[in-house]
Amino acid sequence: MIHLVRKAFFGEIPMPVVHIDTEFKFKEIYRFRDKYIKRLNIKLIIAKNEDALRRGMSPVMGRFDCCNALKTEALKQVISQYGFRALLVGIRRDEHSIRAKERYFSPRNLDFKWDYRNQPAELWEQFYQAKGEDEFHLRIHPLLDWREIDIWRYIKRERMPVVSLYFAKNRKRYRSIGCACCCQSVESSANTIDKIIEEIESPAASERLGRLQDKEKEHMMQKLRSLGYM
């Protein structure tokens, strides 16, 4: 996502980048973030729900509540603090069947709710409801129609750096990463980008198999997203 912005603006990244930090992310992610931000001279905003963290919020208190507090609430706070009107978000249709229902330009109201029963028309992948009204912010999903394999092919073509967790170590690798406590590695011997591409071409398992918030309860993802989860 950041690389695309950089290319679209001829090498500049004219907007700040927000990291929704739950404090539970893998240490490799923090290390990667700090290096990448420094190299590209990015204005980074670290968004944390400090209140919830102080109260000791963690997955032990329930994954739904944890995701909602540390991700969605943290996002709400940063949006209102900076007065953001629009966010570029890297979700894709093939990640989850709920995300597959999204629009490229997806409005959220003041309460952050996703009115999935009444989404705006988008015509010919060309005409969007691109103007937010006062009480709304827009989620813009430029990668919506990319697939997991497109991402890896793009990483290869553009020679982009990636977090080391994606590569197999001791026959295990992470295919999708987030919070260390809620991600499981999958069996794999793919330790290069080419091998990862080869592995994804045969769909033995889904990309987010290791992401526990997707499956804890049926329709948890729908509930999370209707409240404003990315």
Binding site: A121, W124, Q126, P203, Q222
Partner: protein
């Protein structure tokens, strides 16, 4: 990224659109094991047999009430290449979602239930396809298992469909009997319908072709960036190509400009070609702005009044002030005449009226408050299609006649 052929599956409520797509994905081995198992459990919890439609219908209410609320997409891989299948809702209330899904597509499959007559939504969907310029349409006569795979029932249905399509001037690529639920004639020929000699569905998808139109250079300006103190016009080339040093014109200005530089990220290019998102530096950038269309040689039509056909997503009144959007152009406009309207469910035609209803299509004259650069839809679809918006919400889509 690869550009796959996009196929929308349309049809009446309960004709089996989502089941058809789900079954195709399932049978071609595209569903991961953990997704299958998760879904099996969901279906058991709801007290149902395995529902292929749930691979697409992911919202809780879609599953509990067995309908599709919003459009979604899934990739189908076959030996002959990949296809992107687009699922759309059949209910009239979700017409906006159906249009969104259908507007992505290059081709379409109409799913019909062999047991039911062609209903209002199916007719409307066919009309929408024709309206959107999707001429590659095939028909899957579904639920053949429920009529014991009867040859007579299929042919009866097929004839009725062909007659309707002929009436609205739509050609058909194929019509075949299938059972999405049982998987007949989807990825291989069914032994239960040996009387049918045509191809199975995934073979038939190869019949679809997409024509690409060749046209002069068209570059609608999206924005003007200041890069290292230089004005750069940003946009996507929608047709043709232009080289460095070429002389071009701009729709709103009329004077000739020379292309000095073509820029991409970390790259200076010698030309700008169809499909590229690039920056162009001209010898004189004065007055250039978003919405200007840069062209070479044959000009687009530059006018403030034109004939169009529109499809309404909400009620519309003659003379109401609306925003007209075509490529990156945005100007105020009014419908100054409604020549004829058609109810796309009943096909009732009305002339000389003041107000259009939701889901009406109409031939209209549109007057814009400033000149716009357009083309006929059939000549260059990008510049021949537009939307009319009220407060940022699309209330009609249209094509230039």
């Amino acid at each position: 990224m690869n550009r796959q052929l996009k196929i929308v599956v349309v049809g009446e409520v309960d004709s089996g659109k989502s089941t058809l797509i789900g079954r195709l994905l399932f049978d071609t081995g595209l569903i991961a094991k953990d997704v299958k198992e998760g879904l099996k459990k969901t279906c058991e919890d709801l007290g149902k047999n395995f529902e292929f439609a749930y691979l697409l219908d992911s919202f809780r209410e879609e599953r509990e009430e067995d309908f599709t609320l919003d459009t979604t997409q899934a990739l189908l891989k076959t030996e002959n290449g990949d296809f992107l299948l687009v699922d759309v809702p059949g209910h009239r209330e979700f017409l906006k979602n159906m249009l969104t899904g259908a507007s992505y597509a290059d081709a379409a499959i109409l799913a019909v239930d062999v047991n039911s007559p062609l209903g209002e939504q199916a007719k409307r969907h066919l009309y929408v396809l024709k309206f959107l310029g999707i001429n590659e349409v095939g028909i899957a006569v579904n639920k053949m298992d429920s009529v014991s795979y009867s040859k007579e029932d299929f042919y009866q249905k097929k004839e009725a469909l062909m007659e309707f399509c002929k009436d609205i001037g739509m050609g058909l690529s194929f019509a075949m009997p299938v059972s999405a639920k049982e998987g007949d004639n989807l990825i291989k020929e069914s032994s239960r319908m040996s009387w049918y000699e045509g191809p199975c569905l995934i073979e038939a998808l190869n019949i679809f072709t997409v024509k690409s139109s060749i046209f002069g250079f068209r570059f609608p300006i999206q924005d003007i960036y200041d890069i290292k103190d230089k004005k750069v016009a940003i946009g996507t080339v929608i047709s043709g190509r232009a080289d460095r040093k070429d002389l071009v014109k701009v729709s709103s200005i009329g004077r000739e400009l020379k292309i000095k530089k073509v820029l991409a990220f970390n790259e200076v290019k010698s030309r700008a070609e169809t499909g590229e998102s690039i920056g162009i530096v001209f010898d004189n950038n004065d007055g250039l702005k978003r919405g200007d269309v840069v062209y070479k040689n044959i000009p687009p039509r530059i006018t403030n009044e034109f004939q169009a056909r529109i499809f309404c997503l909400s009620e519309l009144k003659k003379q109401e002030r609306l925003s007209f959007k075509c490529v990156t152009q945005e100007v105020y406009a009014r419908i100054c005449e409604i020549t004829e309207s058609i109810n796309t469910g009943t096909f009732e035609i009305r002339g000389n009226i003041e107000t259009l209803e939701e889901a009406d299509a109409a031939d209209v004259a549109i007057a814009t408050e400033a000149p716009v650069a357009i083309e006929k839809f059939q000549d260059l679809s990008y510049m021949g299609r537009f939307v009319l918006q009220r407060n940022g919400h699309t209330c009609a889509i249209g094509i230039v006649c």
